[in-house]
Each structure stands twice: as C-alpha cells, then as structure tokens.
Amino acid sequence: MKTYEKAIEKVILLSAIMATISVGLITFFIFRSGLPVLLEYGIIDFIFGTTWSPTNGDYGILPLIAGTLSITIGSLIIGVPTGIACAVFLAEILQKKWAKAFKFSIELLAGIPSVVYGFFGLVVLIPAIREYILPIYQFFDPEVSQTGFSVLAGAVILAIMILPTIVSMSENSIAAVPVEFKEASLALGANKMETIVRVLIPAAKSGILSSIILGMGRAIGETMAVLLITGNMAKIPGTILDPVATLTGTIAMEMGYASPTHQQVLFAVGIVLFVVIMILNIIAQLSVRKIGGNA
C-alpha cells in the first residue's frame, strides 16, 4: 500500500512539472530550428534589415517588427482606456446583479475565436474604413492606400481582442484594494469619482499595469485575426491606412509554401517573437506576484 501511494505521488509530481517540461521543449525546439540561420545571417542584419523578401534571400524583419509594433500600439491606445473604464464600471459603479451579466459578456468576448474576429474585420470593418475613413483621409493625402487593409483595421480588432484581458485583471485588482482605503477617502469628504481616480486606481496601479502588459503580449502574439485584415505587405507603414505585415502573420502565411531555408528563417522570426513575449510575460508575472505580497 505504501509503495502504491508513493508511485501515485510520483505520477502526480510528473504531471505538475509537465507544463515546465513543455516550456523547456518549446524553447529548445524553436531555438534549434531557427538559431543557426539567425547566427549565419547575423542578428543585427536580421533585426534591422529593411527588406523582407525571402525568395531573394533578403531576411530583414524590421518591416515586420514595425508592422507588429504599429498595430499593437494602436490597439493599446484604443483598448487600454476602454478596458480600464469597463473595469471601474464593473468594480465600482454597476450593481452586483448587473455586474455579473456584464462580466459574462466580457467572457464571451474572450471566447470568440480569433479567426472569427478576423472574418468580422474582413466583412464589416474593412468596408467601413473604405467607406467612411478613407474619404476623410484622402482629403489630406490623395496618395493614401485605398484597400482598407491597414494598421487601423488591425488595431481596432486587436483592441477588442485584448479588452477581456485588461478588464478582468484590472477589475480584480481594483476590487482587491482594501475597503478601508475607500472608506477613509469618503470619510475625508471626497466624492466617489475622486475616490476612484485618486485612491482606487493608484492603489490598483500594478495590477492594471500588468494587465496592460499581458494585453500587449496577446496583441503581439495574435495571428489569424491580423492575418486576414492587415494586408500583409512587408513595408514600414507611413500612415494608419497603410497595409502592414506582422511577425506572426508572416510565419503563418509563409510556412505553408516555404523552402527549407525559408522555413528556418521563419523559425528565426519565431525566436524574436518568443523572446519578446517571454520578457513581457515574465514582467507581468513578477508584478502580479508583488501585488500578492502587498495584499
């Protein structure tokens, strides 16, 4: 009986470290497949090269980085204020029973598959941009790209996709602020708005910040939605209506027909993506831990 229990304990321990093993395997195989070509081409040339043309042997990913960065920043500009507003609304303003329904809606938003977002962007957002935004833009810049596949489209769809991450984590950290803080502020004569802006949000700062970092990681890593709506042109964008290609989209699109060398290069793109996201995740994890310590 004793040995039976011991064996079970071992199996359970093995299951618990499965995630750690997975992270290790992923890191190893991504690097093993992409690192040789990355070193051979030169990391500096790879990251700062301005021409991405794999069929001609040009592997500069700066246009892809610019593409990813532009739609990520765009999505944060739209998504962060909206997300924090929703979190405040949920934690402080809405009544309990309505808050539950609102939370469920946010969860639904998180549950919609990314390819559905992409499809929605393709059939609704892009025609809308062509119809309503383009004429205004053309007034100032007649040369602007007219397809609608653009930084703007990517940023809007990504903003919707990162909302659930920002809302749920920010709401948790606002709700975790000790009630005494709120009471003290109200007792000093501050009204509800002043309490929210001057006390609750500053106290929940690190949680909100890590929700933004996680949202950013999600935006950078998002693939299929972006692939359908950004136009996939590996050029550094000049305006928000320019088409762009992203790191993720390029991997997904070109993997299917890539030659062996080209495949290795796509793995090298994967390394860059992986490192950036790992750094963001680790920062977010560490700051979440810090909140746990403070509370």
Binding site: Y4, E5, V11, I12, L13, S15, A16, I17, M18, A19, T20, S22, V23, L25, I26, F29, I30, R32, S33, P81, T82, A85, C86, I93, F104, S105, E107, L108, L109, G111, I112, P113, S114, V115, V116, G118, F119, F120, V124, I160, L163, N191, M193, V197, G217, G221, T223, M224, L228, T248, I251, M255, G256, L273, I277, L280, N281, I282, A284, Q285
Partner: protein
Amino acid sequence: MDPRKLRNIKKAKNIAFYGIIGLLAAATLTVLIIIIGYILLNGFSHIDVEFLTQEPRKMGKEGGIFSVIIGTLYVTGVGILIATPIGIAAAIYFTEYAKEGKGVILIRFFTEILAGIPSIIFGLFGFAFFVIFLGMGWSVISGGLTLAMMVLPTLVRATEESLKTVPMSYREGSLSLGATKWQMITGVILPCCKPGILTGLILGIGRAIGESAAIMLTVGGSLRVPTSLFDSTRTMAVHLYTLASEGLSQEKTYATAALLILIVLVINGAANLISSKLGGSNGN
C-alpha cells in the same frame, strides 16, 4: 472662487467622468452584440441539414462541412483527453502535495508562462517537434498533442480553484477515518470538485475549438474524413480561415462562422451555468 461656481465645476466633472465610463462600457457591449448578431444573422440561414451532413465539394465552395466537423471533434477530443488527466493531477499536486518552496514557485511560474505563449509559437513548436522530429506528420495526433499543451494551464487553474474551495475539515475527517491520502483525494475531494473541473474542461474545449494558427501548422488542411490518428484533417476554425482568405463562398463562410459562434455561446453559457450552480451549492 465663488463656492457655487466651484460646486458647478465639480458637478460637471462628475457628469463627464460617469458619462465617459458609461459610454465606453456601452460601446464594449455594443461591439459584442454587433459581432455576434451580424455573424449569426448572416450565417444562420445557411446552416441546414445538408451543410452539417455533406462533405465539402470544390475545396469547400459547395457542399457542407461534415468532414471538417469530424476533424474538429477528433483533434479537440485527442487534445482534451491528453490534457485532462495531466491537468487534474497537476492541480492535485499544487493543492494537496506541494510544500511551499522555491521548486513549487518555479513550477507554478512556468505553468503561467505556458499560458502566455501565443498559438503561432505552439504551432511552430508542434511542427518542429511532433510533425518533423517525431515523424508524426501533419496529423490529428500532432495537433492533439499541441492542443493539449495549450489548454493545460486552463485546466490546471480551474481545477486548482475548485480544489481550494473544499473545506480543510473534509480532509481531516477523511484522514482521521483511516483513509490514505490517495483514498481521501479520490473518495472525498475530487467528487466535491466535479463542477469546477467540468467548468475548466468546457473552457478548455472552447479554446481548443477556436484555435487555428497552431492547428494549421500541425494538422494540415485535408478535407477528407480522418480515419486514423495519423491522418491530416481540417478543423472548423482553419476551414473558416481558408474560406475567408480565399473568398471561395460567402455563404459557406458565414455559415461556418455562425456555427463557431453558436458553439462558443453554448460553451460559455454551460460553463457559466455550472459555475454559478457551484457557487450555490458551496454551502452544503
């Protein structure tokens, strides 16, 4: 300044503050309703028996999506079957066996990190490891194993949350009656956590069904009904991407998207129902 003026400014500020917050929250809700409504309205009328039971013809331009549905079930099923026991066991480790220390903190940390890795990286890994290195090719099993890794953190988290709600006295009671630790876990603790585990499972299935980037690189895109674990197939999400990007058939694309949205609605509804029931029965 005149105190009345000051009060007016304060009032205006208040109105602006609540106005902006209310507006943004309403906008979020509106976007959700528009997305779901638009796709359901345009796609629902094209979902019929033929669409669900016939195999795709002409690359999906005509016919139905029967083989795609089967492919989705296969890949999701394999992924969930592999991930579930591991996820539950890992959660049991964290709540019942682990003693707080550096090792446990590290294992937890990597479980969270795994949750943050984007699906395209899982896809690249699955392609390099399962498809090429282990020689499984583009297949149900390559995709299932990749999916299992992706949904593992979801399952661990949900199970752990519900294990934590089991009162300490249950454990003490069970052990004092002479049960071994394992008997206590299987006989007392796990039965209490059924709803929580089920919720995690359902959310994992939801994530698996919606997944596309990782599946595309590990399962391929064959439109035939898979007959073995080593056959390539296509899932609904990948099918939707192919239809949308190639503009094959507006009708079929909307229908596939609507079906995916319906599944998401059912899954989230079920998860919500079970977890709210769990909240109600927690007192007993």
